[in-house]
Symmetry: C2
């Protein structure tokens, strides 16, 4: 199975959700991307439909916005 | 591992998220509860901290609100 991608921005809400998601799905099945640090991947996240972080994009392309840490606009700053 | 519990209310957003979560976590690791039908479990969800559905409560008690289908108040009607 293709990997899911978990986008986050290092906020406390993000880190907590990341630990839960990695525990639930399995470390080998999810790529974790910190778009606050890897800023060239912000556009990629937006293209996939990510409106806020933390968010999980599933292998079939669905976007699950999990809780609410920050909007993409806030991450762009 | 104890099971996660996925609370939903049958809304389109809920059903879509349910399929994704069950696919990602595995059918045997998550209990799916339709609180629109099993109304006696609304209070249980609230006690766990669920504010809106769909939501996933992890085995360690964290609540992941996934996208937004309906508030608990709306489900109560």
């Amino acid at each position: 199975m293709e990997k899911s991608v978990f986008y986050h921005a290092g906020c406390p809400v993000c880190v907590s959700a990341e630990q839960d998601i990695v525990n639930l799905i399995g470390n080998d099945k999810v790529e974790v991307v910190h778009i606050g640090e890897k800023r060239d991947r912000i556009a990629e996240a937006e293209t996939k439909g990510v409106k806020s972080v933390p968010a999980l994009v599933t292998p079939n392309g669905n976007v699950l916005h999990i809780n609410f840490g920050a909007s993409i606009a806030d991450v762009k700053g």
